[in-house]
């Protein structure tokens, strides 16, 4: 028996308290002169004996309760408890590439054999993975693992290996185990920089279910006024020729032929003028590869624009940098942001409902109707980005939403003050990744001093003052940037991080207005199915197209050795790993719960004996 926090065992010394009290209590019984002791002796003698026994029981119960409490706090665990039987973790790839003819059946066969190889008493767990991992059979008997495995089917998501190792380490919980991965070993399952970590106590066994000899996949579909251009990927080693079809609302509208060189992608033009509404499917025939990537769905309905209204002071450069940054957005139509501009004075005459977000860069001449217009817009679900600039009066902003005074003027900042995300996983900063350090290069001279009552602080200045805050107002979302976006109080617009920061912030505040038409399996909004197709979602019943991740169509595999080399082994013999193992063991065994339970039993017993 080991203890995670043995220092707590010193708390066991507290047993001295009931012992001392016990003996003190014995001395407390004072001598009382009496005459009829002869009468008293007849029954009290026996009672005295019972009382002594009761006292001992009470003492034992109290000492036991204290010892159990101390032991529970010390978090006991048995280091070798799980070593009597080893653990076998079988992870089977269920990405849609496994749906190639014969692949998944072969994978099931390999996984079944891996289960059958389990020694007597060896526990078996089964994981199914694509871009996430599910434990479909918790550690248990091989028989139940077999049963569960038989019910597994491939899905439509892409492959991602790294989570398998994380899950395996979690299940092994510091014990020795054997991880058997059954997969087609697609190279695309590893992200470029991805190196996964696996504890050295878990041996890795990779079993290749074999990649499809070749695969054709429709990677993307683009439209021009007079034609449709499909990008088709040939992952095979031979040239592929075939027919490509365009269907509109289920009827074949046009066909064309393609010829794709080995291991390459080609744009296939199809002379078809796509309608302005309905759904379009571009399909090819590929008997060798998985069928899910043979078609790509496109919703032809116009994408409602994502419009942002910049409320400026009307003078340069108010809104200039922001508008330029938003204009820099490229990519799909759905990602584009239309920028409108208005002055605060003219805001009341503007119809805000056509915008998904408003950026408040000035409150000069913002009258009551303008304020009510903004407040109503946000509460109805609109987004609002407020820049804490000299053009924006904090009192006016507070009056719009009836807030208390959360802004207490401006602060002069030393030259060294920069921006630091509080939560790098926040949607505004997530796309920055490791590049979020670039935000530290921005220098702020002045900013609003904001008391974050009712706000969530997303980023702070390096002097600790809140820099980016958010809150909900009705159905809408408000983000407050405590400095300006017009290069008056900082040099932010001159830094490369400004454009992604502004774009992501605008997208974030206007998030409730999701207008995208094209989704990857697993990322589609609620209401969409889990397989590729066209679905109607949302309150506006808009059509969306859900397609498979095109990366999965690249079926190029890798050798088992190379696969294994991608996995970094962590030696669990060093102290920190040993500690982690102890923590895992303790967390899994959770003997402290039993300790507390027994303590409660001891206290209940003490209560009963005490009352007897």
């Amino acid at each position: 028996m080991n203890f995670l926090f043995p220092a707590f065992l010193l708390g066991g010394l507290a047993i001295a308290v009931p012992i001392v009290l016990h003996f003190l209590r014995r001395d407390v019984a004072p001598p009382v002169p009496f005459t009829a002791v002869r009468l008293l002796r007849k029954s009290p003698v026996a009672r005295s004996k019972r009382r002594r026994l009761r006292d001992l029981l009470l003492l034992a119960a109290r000492v036991a309760a204290l010892l159990l409490l101390a032991a529970a706090f010390a978090r006991p665990y048995v280091a070798g408890a799980a070593r009597g039987t080893t653990l076998r973790i079988v992870a089977i790839d269920r990405s849609y590439s496994m749906n190639a003819p014969g692949r998944f059946a072969h994978a099931l066969d390999l996984a079944g054999r891996a289960i059958d190889e389990a020694a007597a008493g060896e526990r078996v767990a089964v994981l199914a993975f694509d871009d996430h991992v599910d434990t479909i059979a918790a550690p248990g008997s091989a028989t139940s693992a077999r049963t569960t495995l038989a019910a597994t089917a491939p899905g439509f998501a892409a492959t991602r290996y790294s989570e398998v190792f994380t899950k395996a380490a979690e299940i092994a919980a510091g014990d020795e185990a054997r991880l058997i991965i059954v997969s087609d070993l697609q190279r695309s399952g590893w992200d470029a920089e991805d190196r996964s970590v696996l504890p050295a106590g878990i041996s890795l066994d990779v079993r290749d279910a074999g990649t499809a000899p070749s695969n054709l996949s429709v990677v993307s579909v683009a439209r021009t006024p007079d034609r449709v251009i499909a990008a088709v990927r040939n992952s095979g080693s031979t040239r592929r020729t075939g027919q490509i079809r365009v269907e509109h609302d289920g009827r074949i509208a046009q066909t064309s032929t393609y010829t794709i060189a080995p291991d390459s992608t080609a744009d296939v033009p199809i002379l078809y003028r796509p309608p302005s509404s309905g759904t379009m499917t571009v399909s090819i025939d590929d008997p060798d590869g998985p069928p899910a990537d043979n078609s790509r769905f496109v919703v032809l309905d116009a994408v409602p624009s994502n419009s942002v209204l910049l409320v400026t002071s009307g003078a340069n450069p108010s809104g200039y940098y922001l508008a330029r940054a938003l204009a820099a957005i490229g990519g799909p139509e759905a990602d584009q942001i239309d920028v409108g501009t208005s002055t605060a004075a003219a805001l009341a005459d503007d119809n805000l409902t056509k915008y998904s977000a408003v950026v408040l860069l000035s409150t000069r001449a913002l009258d009551r109707r303008g304020r009510e217009s903004i407040a109503g817009f946000v509460r109805a679900g609109g987004g609002l980005l407020i820049a804490g600039s000299p053009e924006v009066e904090a009192a006016v902003v507070a009056a719009v939403f009836n807030w208390g005074t959360s802004t207490t003027g401006t602060i002069e900042m030393p030259a060294a003050v920069a921006l630091s995300p509080t939560d790098p996983r926040h949607p505004v900063f997530r796309p920055f990744g490791s590049l979020s350090a670039n935000l530290g290069q921005v220098r702020f001279a002045r900013a609003w001093r904001v008391t974050p009552d009712g706000w969530d602080v997303v980023a702070r200045f390096t002097d600790g003052n809140p820099a980016l805050l958010e809150r909900r107002e009705g159905s809408g979302r408000i983000v407050l940037f405590a400095s300006d976006l017009d290069r008056q109080w900082n040099d932010f617009p001159l830094h490369p991080a400004f454009v992604p920061f502004v774009i992501e912030t605008i997208r974030y505040v206007s998030a409730p207005h999701d207008r995208a038409r094209d989704y990857i399996v697993g990322t589609a909004p609620a209401g969409a199915g889990s397989r590729p197709g066209v679905y109607r979602v949302g309150p506006d019943n808009r059509s969306i197209a859900v397609n498979v991740d095109p990366r999965e169509g690249v079926t190029t595999g890798m050798a088992r050795q190379e696969f294994a080399e991608r996995v970094e082994r962590v030696d669990t013999t060093n102290s920190s790993s040993g500690d982690a193992r102890a923590v895992h063991l303790e967390a899994r065994q959770s003997y402290w719960r039993y300790g507390l339970l027994l303590m409660l039993v001891a206290l209940v017993a003490e209560s009963f004996v005490g009352r007897a």
């Binding site: 005459t35 009468l39 009290p44 005295s48």
Partner: protein, 303 residues
């Protein structure tokens, strides 16, 4: 009887009042006169008392004692005085063992209470010209004063009672047997003891006395603590005679103790009454009139 006494009368019989009085003679006189004062207002008026003499009426005398016939003959007011016969020999046996020195919450110890009781009885007997003797004992006879009705004997007896000191262990049976053998004349024997030791020898000794023709009255004097066992909290109960100790939680043993005591009382009551012996249990916190009335009752039977 107690119902017949007024609060004014009981004031003179209250142990708390008696305990504060000086000499035993004063205590005994106060008790007896208070008792008799109460008795005059009771249904036991004239009980066992015979005419002794006439005395000229004095203001304050009860008008009911006026002899109207004498008034008719002499034209003077005379009241009738009564007295008992003087041929009774009474022996007061007072237990002076260590347990009699116990005093819980009562104003007097059992020995003090018993002494006042004995003195009161002696005073009462002396008024009725009875010969009174005193025997003090623990496990043996510690002091003995022969019965006598001579003038001055009462004073000596009361002085002896006042000087009684607690002795050692009690053994009621032995002095009772000794007294029974020594008595040559049928007498009234009054035993004043707590009777907390083995009841068997005591009952045998008392029966022996009864067998020898004596009338026996037994006063079992107990302290309120012995009667109610009001102790709280775990205690080591140490016997005042044997020094034996019993550790007990009074709350848990009270019922059993009281049951034992009730059993002991019941046994004395049953066996002594069966033998024609008066058995009276007294509480040292209670007035003494009940004891005196018990004596008079026994005295009446003797007559």
């Amino acid at each position: 009887m107690a119902q017949a006494s007024t609060s004014r009368d009981l004031r003179f019989l209250d142990p708390a009042v008696i305990a504060r009085l000086g000499t035993m003679e004063l205590k005994a006189r106060t008790v007896v006169e208070g008792f008799l004062s109460g008795l005059h207002r009771s249904p036991f008026k004239g009980f066992s008392v015979e005419f002794a003499e006439y005395r000229q009426y004095l203001p304050g005398d009860d008008l009911s004692t006026l002899d109207w016939k004498v008034y008719a003959r002499t034209d003077r007011h005379y009241v009738k005085k009564f007295e008992e016969e003087t041929n009774l020999e009474c022996h007061l046996l007072v237990d002076v063992s260590a347990s009699m020195d116990y005093r819980g919450s009562a104003p007097m110890s059992k020995l003090e209470y018993g002494s006042v009781l004995a003195g009161s009885l002696a005073f009462l007997m002396n008024r009725q010209r009875d010969a009174t003797g005193l025997i003090a004992f623990d496990d043996r006879i510690a002091f003995r004063m022969p019965a006598s009705a001579r003038p001055g004997h009462l004073h000596a007896l009361l002085l002896a009672l006042e000087q009684l000191r607690p002795g050692e262990r009690s053994d009621v049976g032995r002095p009772l047997h000794q007294l029974a053998e020594a008595l040559v004349k049928r007498s009234l024997v009054v035993l004043i003891s707590d009777l907390l030791d083995d009841p068997e020898p005591a009952i045998k000794g008392l029966r022996h006395l009864k067998f020898r023709g004596s009338d026996v009255v037994v006063f079992q004097v107990l302290d309120p603590h012995e009667l109610t066992f009001p102790f709280r909290g775990p205690s080591r109960f140490r016997d005042v005679e044997s020094a034996d100790e019993v550790t007990a939680d009074p709350a848990s043993v009270r019922t059993a103790y009281l049951r034992e005591l009730a059993g002991l009382t019941l046994r004395y009551d049953r066996e002594l009454r069966g033998a024609g012996i008066d058995y009276v249990q007294l509480d040292t916190s209670q007035p003494l009139d009940f004891a005196l009335l018990s004596y008079l009752s026994a005295r009446a039977r003797r007559k």
